[in-house]
């Protein structure tokens, strides 16, 4: 019972915070609300016995990535979304077009939920299966990560290196004094 209540509480928090993220005009609030959404997701991971993923979610997402976002928001000092004259007159902002787009978006959600409720495993309980202890153990996870997914792990390090070099090159000031 407590498990069910916790699930709906965390899921509701994640969804409401995400809706508010895209509903804010101030990117500062958006970033802070997204941290709340990620914390709720970390709670869901704990409920799924994925303890290490939950901790990584807090440290990497809420810690590192969101601080990077906050840093850029403060650095650019552009708190409000600018609605310039040419932007308000943009053809895609006409009410008819916007209504059509909103209808399509609602249709997508309805379709997704409809498709999901029809799969055979919809009512199968998660977490009732055997091997519950093995799924939560960091030792087992390290073994699988380095034995079965060693190549992907090494490829990840190259990806991070490329991203690092790319970020430095892109954000560098252009000109002879750079």
């Amino acid at each position: 019972m407590a498990e069910t209540v916790t699930f709906y509480l965390l899921a509701g928090l994640a969804i409401v915070a995400s809706v508010l993220v895209i509903g804010q005009r101030n990117p500062m609030y958006s970033v802070l609300l997204l941290i709340a959404s990620f914390a709720a997701l970390a709670g869901l991971y704990i409920q799924l016995d994925a303890y290490f993923v939950a901790v990584a979610q807090i440290i990497i997402y809420a810690g590192a990535i969101m601080v990077l976002f906050l840093f850029v928001v403060m650095l650019l000092n552009a708190p409000q979304e600018d609605a310039a004259e040419w932007d308000r007159l943009h053809p895609l902002r006409r009410p008819g077009v916007a209504r059509f787009g909103a209808t399509l978006a609602v249709l997508l959600v309805v379709q997704l939920v409809w498709a999901l409720t029809r799969i055979a495993e919809y009512d199968a309980a998660v977490g009732g299966q055997a091997a519950g202890a093995a799924v939560g153990s960091v030792r087992e996870m390290g073994r699988v990560l380095f034995q079965r997914h060693g190549f992907a792990f090494e490829a990840t390090s190259i990806l991070i290196l490329v991203a690092m070099v790319g970020a430095v090159v892109l954000a560098r000031k252009e000109g002879p004094d750079a």
């Binding site: 498990e3 069910t4 699930f7 899921a11 969804i15 995400s18 993220v21 895209i22 804010q24 990117p27 958006s30 970033v31 959404s37 997701l41 991971y45 409920q47 799924l48 994925a50 290490f52 993923v53 990584a56 990497i60 997402y61 990535i65 990077l68 976002f69 850029v72 650019l76 552009a78 979304e81 310039a84 932007d87 943009h90 978006a105 997508l108 959600v109 997704l112 939920v113 999901l116 409720t117 799969i119 919809y122 009512d123 309980a125 998660v126 299966q129 519950g132 799924v135 087992e140 996870m141 699988v144 990560l145 997914h149 990806l159 991070i160 991203a163 790319g166 970020a167 892109l170 954000a171």
Partner: protein, 100 residues
């Protein structure tokens, strides 16, 4: 016990919210945040499926998604800074010089 379908519906809703954010918002930073919401929605279904099957592959792939998200955020924010320096604006419609 929570049914698997409920996790998947939460994931689908979060993904739809992220998609809506990418299309609706006129701010590059909020668009990047919406992409992070979408990546997290997919992570949730990976972990739920992994727990349902009782093996660790769902959690492993979540780590790779997190790594890709970190790389994407670094490069994306560097692009945002470079664009802002160029046009003093974060509106994606301000950058139309590649349009003919």
């Amino acid at each position: 016990m929570i049914p698997l379908g409920h996790y998947l519906i939460v994931s689908a809703l979060l993904f739809a919210i992220g998609t809506a954010g990418v299309f609706l918002r006129r701010n590059l930073i909020t668009i990047l945040l919406s992409i992070e919401i979408m990546l997290n929605a997919v992570n949730l279904s990976f972990v739920a499926f992994g727990r349902f099957k009782g093996d660790l592959d769902g959690q492993i792939i979540t780590f790779f998604v997190m790594t890709v998200a970190a790389a994407e955020a670094a490069v994306g924010l560097a692009l945002v800074i470079a664009l802002f320096r160029h046009k003093e604006s974060l509106n994606p419609d301000a950058f139309t010089s590649l349009k003919w």
